[in-house]
């Protein structure tokens, strides 16, 4: 038990140091802009198909599953608003973040872990290149920026799925559907939900980088780094979400 607690506190300390190093390095030149753009392309653009498919299915399934219950109360007309609120406030941010944790955090963990094990990170260091700035800062910044954009994209695609779901059992025009959606939305629904996605993105990148950058020597540790990155990032997303909901509830 003592050893376990010691390991937990050591890990917390190391993560804190790692995070503080990020904030120290992010503002100091030289800036690796080209690598940052490359990571935005890999993390953002290359995740679009996956996010689009899951976003569409989320909207469609949510609509189809909710419809019978609302129909019992004769409240089918509330369906667009309910789908939009559910997607924007909770489902799209959390599901998209979980997908990103699986795809991006594990990818970063495995990539950096492999670089660590094969001494590529050491090679950068002995060539007087700051590997933290080149590998870690760029990836965390890219996830922090790209995950919110992917969530907004998933919101839109999800609502398109909802529109198709509604029209499977009825006939609602796109204009009417969109006006119903916007009628039910307020800024207080959109802003807190969007702000929390920046935190999701930051932690997805940070956990992936931390796990990869601290992989022990040996190929088995690459798999462990990837696996551990997914588990920790997923858990962190739920914790942040819970805190964000509590905070939003308190403030608005």
């Amino acid at each position: 038990m003592n050893v376990y607690l010691k390991n937990v506190f050591t890990d917390v300390g190391n993560v804190t140091l790692f995070t503080s190093k990020f904030f120290k390095e992010v503002f100091s030149p030289p800036y690796e802009f080209k690598e940052f753009m490359k990571q935005c392309y890999i993390i953002g653009y290359k995740s679009i198909p996956l996010v689009a498919i899951t976003g569409f299915i989320m909207g469609l399934v949510l609509t189809l599953q909710s419809r019978p219950t609302l129909a019992k109360f004769g409240a089918e007309s509330w369906l667009p608003g309910m789908v939009a609120l559910s997607l924007i406030r909770e489902i799209a941010p959390v599901i998209t973040a979980l997908i990103c944790a699986g795809k991006i955090s594990s990818g970063i963990g495995a990539e950096l872990g492999s670089m660590k094990v094969t001494e590529q990170i050491d090679a950068m260091e002995v060539a007087a290149i700051n590997p933290f700035k080149y590998l870690v800062v760029t990836r965390i910044l890219a996830t922090t920026l790209m995950v919110p954009l992917l969530v907004i994209f998933a919101d839109g695609i999800g609502m398109l799925g909802g529109y198709i779901g509604i029209n499977m059992h009825g006939d609602v025009s796109l204009f009417r559907y969109i006006s119903k959606v916007f009628d039910s939305l307020a800024f207080v629904d959109i802003i807190p939900a969007t702000i929390k996605t920046f935190f999701f993105g930051f932690f997805i990148g940070m956990i992936g980088c931390y796990k990869g950058f601290n992989a022990e020597n040996g190929t088995a540790s690459v798999g462990q780094a990837a696996n551990s990155a997914v588990v920790t990032a997923s858990l962190t997303i739920f914790i942040i979400d819970m805190l964000a909901v509590q905070l939003t509830d308190l403030l608005f």
Partner: protein, 259 residues
């Protein structure tokens, strides 16, 4: 860079004995009981090729990793070009690192980059005043020097073990280092390729007058390249001398390396 080197290097009349690396009382322990280095003292003179021999786990790689700051020793002093690297802050240490090349045991090529990008990556960051054309010329020249000009657009995964070593060496040479640290440069290579790499090390020394520390288990490589050999045992220097001196040593354990 050259101006800075003049101010750092001690002014000594005899070129042969100018120490570029001096290590005193180096101690490193991993965990509580794994005493890898127990007080190593060694020096590398300008233009000298020093070979370090020893059994696996005797602390050879740790010693050279301490020199470039990849591993921090528990005790001791490491002077490179007269500066104690253990007292330097990061940007000062980086200025020293630029003057040292390090060839890793597994080559450590950046596997997401082509050969050209591997070489340009380092060069662009330390010679930002160079034009793209000049960078290309430098890369071609250094690839020519290791005999692999045709591999410029290949990915590391497309290269054989020997080619990877040569490209890693080219990447090391791109900044024209004054000292090169070789961590088992011929490990995992066939006899012919090993000899080619050993000859390349010797050739580079003659052309560029670099000083080198070569860690190896390959006695043919040691014989060809060594000006002086150090043998590590149980974290200390057990024997020191030329290849011939150690080969004829009366110490049975030392002689066992040469059988």
């Amino acid at each position: 860079m050259e101006q800075e080197a003049k101010t750092i290097l001690p002014q000594v009349t005899s070129e042969e004995k100018v120490p570029v690396i001096e290590i005193n009382g180096l101690v490193k322990t991993f965990g509580e009981n794994n005493h890898v280095l127990k007080g190593i003292n060694l020096s590398l003179n300008k233009g000298e090729d020093l070979v370090i021999l020893g059994r696996s786990g005797s602390g050879k790689s740790i010693t050279i990793k301490c020199i470039v700051g990849l591993v921090v020793p528990d005790e001791g002093e490491i002077k490179v070009f007269g500066q104690n690297v253990l007292n330097l802050v990061t940007h000062q240490l980086n200025e020293v690192r630029i003057r040292i090349g390090f060839l890793f045991q597994n080559s450590a090529l950046y596997d997401s980059m082509t050969v050209k990008q591997n070489l340009a990556f380092t060069l662009k960051r330390h010679a930002s005043d160079l034009t793209s054309q000049e960078i290309e010329t430098h890369i071609n020249a250094v690839l020519e020097s290791v005999g692999l000009a045709e591999a410029i657009n290949k990915m590391p995964s497309e290269l054989s073990g020997g080619m990877r070593k040569r490209i890693a060496l080219a990447r090391t040479l791109i900044l024209k280092p004054e000292i090169i640290l070789y961590d088992e440069p011929t490990t995992g290579l066939d006899t012919i390729t090993s000899r080619e790499i050993s000859e390349l090390i010797l050739d580079l020394k003659k052309k560029n007058n670099t000083s080198s520390i070569i860690i190896t288990h390959d006695m043919a490589c040691a014989k060809l390249t060594a000006d002086r050999i150090i043998i590590l045992k149980d974290g200390v220097i057990h024997a020191e001398g030329s290849y011939q001196e150690l080969e004829e040593s009366e110490d049975q354990w030392v002689r066992s390396f040469f059988i």
